[in-house]
């Protein structure tokens, strides 16, 4: 379904600021699999999602979605296959435009944009029906600018927009991190609901290990631009938050293991 082959990305190469954000990352995700990505700050989670979404072209490696090589496609072209929700609740919608207009744009994601009037009564009825599902009372405010809504409401709408046309792949980048706890829980709930109902293939970056344990089918842990752990199937069912913390600790210990430790242990580990 999604097949990432050894992609690498270095920001500011050959300068003092050089960052190896992705280092030879390979990942294959089956159709209908909901995968969480966890990892320390700056471990390359967002960079991985950006590479898939086409925000930049990786230095090396290939990305196949639906058996199609997409790594040379520009971002907007990939959007026909990929739905996206960003961490910033304001990033996924156009603030000055109405709720209806925003959703109408999402209803033709990756399709042609004809010179026909976009908003009409029938379409608005269709939108209202689906928006009612959010139970936020937004169906009565379709003509209000979306910028007048709260972050949680906007993020819920963005999620609805990203999945309005069933995407081949849904990318969620810490999409509940910037919300207050109550909205975050609601959006997380909605995420699970939509993904299950539509049987979506999804990649979700999350900072919440509890979320990683509760929601998805698979957990991938990243560190320093590499995948260091991959819990799937039976392993995933067994894994609990303390196990994830344990793994984090192990990965971080590896960082502290330097040459001087190696030399010391040569004397002491016998």
């Amino acid at each position: 379904m999604l097949k990432i082959n050894a992609i690498s990305k270095t920001f500011f190469p050959n300068t003092v600021n050089e960052v190896g954000a992705l280092n030879n990352v390979s990942l294959t995700i089956k159709e209908g699999c909901f995968t969480a990505i966890i990892g320390t700050n700056g471990s390359g989670k967002s960079t991985l999602l950006n590479a898939i979404a086409g925000t930049f072209i990786p230095d090396q490696g290939s990305i196949l979605l639906n058996e199609t090589e997409i790594s040379a496609w520009p971002e907007y072209k990939r959007a026909s296959l990929i739905g996206r929700v960003f961490q910033n609740p304001f990033a996924g919608s156009a603030a000055e435009m109405t709720i209806a207009e925003n959703i109408i744009m999402a209803m033709r994601r990756g399709q042609s944009r004809p010179l026909r009037l976009a908003v009409n009564a029938a379409v608005k009825e269709e939108i209202a029906e689906k928006v009612r599902m959010l139970k936020m009372g937004l169906e009565d405010r379709l003509d209000n600018p979306i910028g007048t809504l709260s972050g949680g409401q906007r993020q819920a709408l963005t999620l609805l927009m990203a999945t309005w046309l069933k995407p081949k792949l849904l990318l969620l980048d810490e999409h509940t991190a910037a919300l207050d706890p109550k909205s975050a829980a609601k959006v997380a709930e909605l995420t699970k609901h939509i993904i299950e109902k539509e049987n979506l293939t999804a990649l979700m970056v999350t900072h919440s290990m509890q979320q990683a344990v509760d929601l998805p089918d698979r957990i991938v842990m990243m560190h320093r631009g590499q995948i260091v752990e991959d819990y799937r199937d039976e392993m995933k069912k067994r894994v609990r938050v303390p196990d994830l913390i344990e793994t984090f600790n192990r990965v971080q210990k590896r960082e502290l293991f330097d040459e001087s430790v190696a030399a010391m242990l040569q004397q002491q580990y016998i």
């Binding site: 793994t247 210990k253 590896r254 030399a263 010391m264 242990l265 002491q268 580990y269 016998i270």
Partner: protein, 408 residues
């Protein structure tokens, strides 16, 4: 609520003033549990000015009593007002109540010159003729490939104390991918299979079952412990380094080679453990940095402070057992060489005084599972070294190593 604490002889008196209700119950319990942790195993609650006791308060008293019971301590409530007495009687703990302090304490109260002696301090001779016979399994040299003939099958009856690298698998072939550190005390083996990446596992000796391991490296001692000494912080020492404990074990057994088991609260452990079985090694020879990181994990900082450790170690004063394998010189005390493995458990208090090793190990193993298994290292890197592992308070059983059965 206000708590006034006073040590009187072997007793520790806590005067509780105010209300012991839901909002204070935890504070009260934590304070008392801390005292128990610090070795005060005879608590008296002076309830003279305790003017309320809720069911949450009762629950906290139960917690304290349970902890004291496990270390064979004593628990008494004195001067309680009628309604407190009634509440406690109703819940069936009449035996906690006493009208006044015990007589011996009342005598002390008039004579305040009594110094708060360290009642848990001391050393005991368990069996003057107790000694251990050491066998060494050292066919495998780190980091060579493991050959079939390097793997020895070891049995762990109740008289065996051992450490090493091995696997609980049945056949040597199966064991190959599971070799990790182990430590065995009184027939119980705690081991960590590196590929599991999780908690250590254990084999408990029960009835006719004698645990077995496929080992590629081991220090295997058979026999009986001869001495026990207790240690706890005093004015001089806030904690005890592994080399201090080793030194004491050697001096108390009057021998240049000794083995010991320590059960103690941890100040900080320093060490490493395997994260890949050496049975999977493809080439002979030292593994350079950074590949070594694929095989060994180092703790990186002093870890497991406040946990309870079970350490088994073999230590020699230099000169004893010429060219003995598996012993590394201790930078903290260059006269000594040793090898130590530690199993780490959530904290459990120990009874004071002369206690039994096997009983206490069994008690430890019947509680929450072990958190880690480590090969302890004495990290003497200049400036950034983490130093040696150290312990706060506990018990050390030791015995001289009289015989070397040669290398197994």
């Amino acid at each position: 609520m206000q708590l006034i604490q006073e040590q009187l002889g072997k007793y520790f008196v806590i005067k509780a003033i105010g209300k012991l209700d839901a909002s204070w119950a935890d504070y009260f319990a934590e304070t008392c549990l801390d005292l128990i942790r610090n070795g005060h195993h005879n608590l008296i609650i002076d309830a003279d000015e305790l003017n309320f006791l809720s069911s949450a308060g009762i629950r906290s008293l139960l917690r304290i009593n349970k902890e004291l019971h496990s270390v064979k301590g004593s628990f008494l409530i004195v001067h309680a007002q009628d309604f407190v007495v009634k509440t406690i009687e109703m819940t069936g703990f009449k035996h906690w109540i006493s009208k006044d302090f015990p007589k011996e304490l009342l005598a002390l109260k008039s004579d305040h010159s009594f110094s708060s002696a360290q009642v848990d301090e001391g050393s005991f001779v368990l069996n003057p003729s107790g000694s251990l016979t050491l066998s060494v399994v050292a066919d495998w040299q780190p980091w060579n490939t493991v050959k079939a003939e390097n793997i020895s099958k070891l049995h762990f009856p109740a008289s065996v104390f051992a450490l090493g690298i091995g696997s609980a698998a049945d056949s040597p072939e199966e064991a190959r991918s599971h070799f990790g550190e182990f430590v065995a005390v009184g027939g119980h083996v705690i081991f960590q299979a590196p590929e599991a990446k999780s908690r250590p596992d254990y084999l408990l000796a029960e009835k006719d079952f004698i645990p077995q391991m496929q080992a590629i490296q081991a220090l295997y001692c058979n026999g009986e412990m001869s001495h026990l000494f207790r240690f706890s912080p005093d004015e001089k020492n806030a904690f005890f380094g592994l080399s201090d404990i080793s030194e004491k074990a050697l001096s108390i057994t009057k021998c240049n080679a000794a083995a010991f088991v320590v059960l103690a609260e941890v100040d900080g452990l320093v060490g490493a453990n395997l994260i890949q079985s050496p049975g999977l090694l493809k080439n002979n020879g030292i593994i350079p940095f950074p590949e070594i990181r694929e095989w060994l994990s180092f703790c990186g900082e002093r870890v497991f402070s406040g946990y309870q450790a079970m350490v088994f170690g073999v230590v020699t004063r230099n000169g004893a057992f010429e060219k003995m394998p598996l012993l590394a010189s201790l930078p903290s005390n260059p006269e000594l060489s040793g090898h130590f493995h530690a199993a780490v458990f959530p904290y459990q208090p120990l009874q004071n005084g002369k206690i039994d090793l096997i009983q206490n190990v069994q008690k430890l193993l019947s509680g929450p599972p072990p958190q880690a298994l480590m090969h302890l290292a004495d990290d003497n890197r200049p400036a950034i070294g983490l130093g040696q592992s150290s312990l706060i308070r506990g018990a050390c059983w030791c015995a001289p190593i009289q015989n070397m059965e040669g290398i197994l």
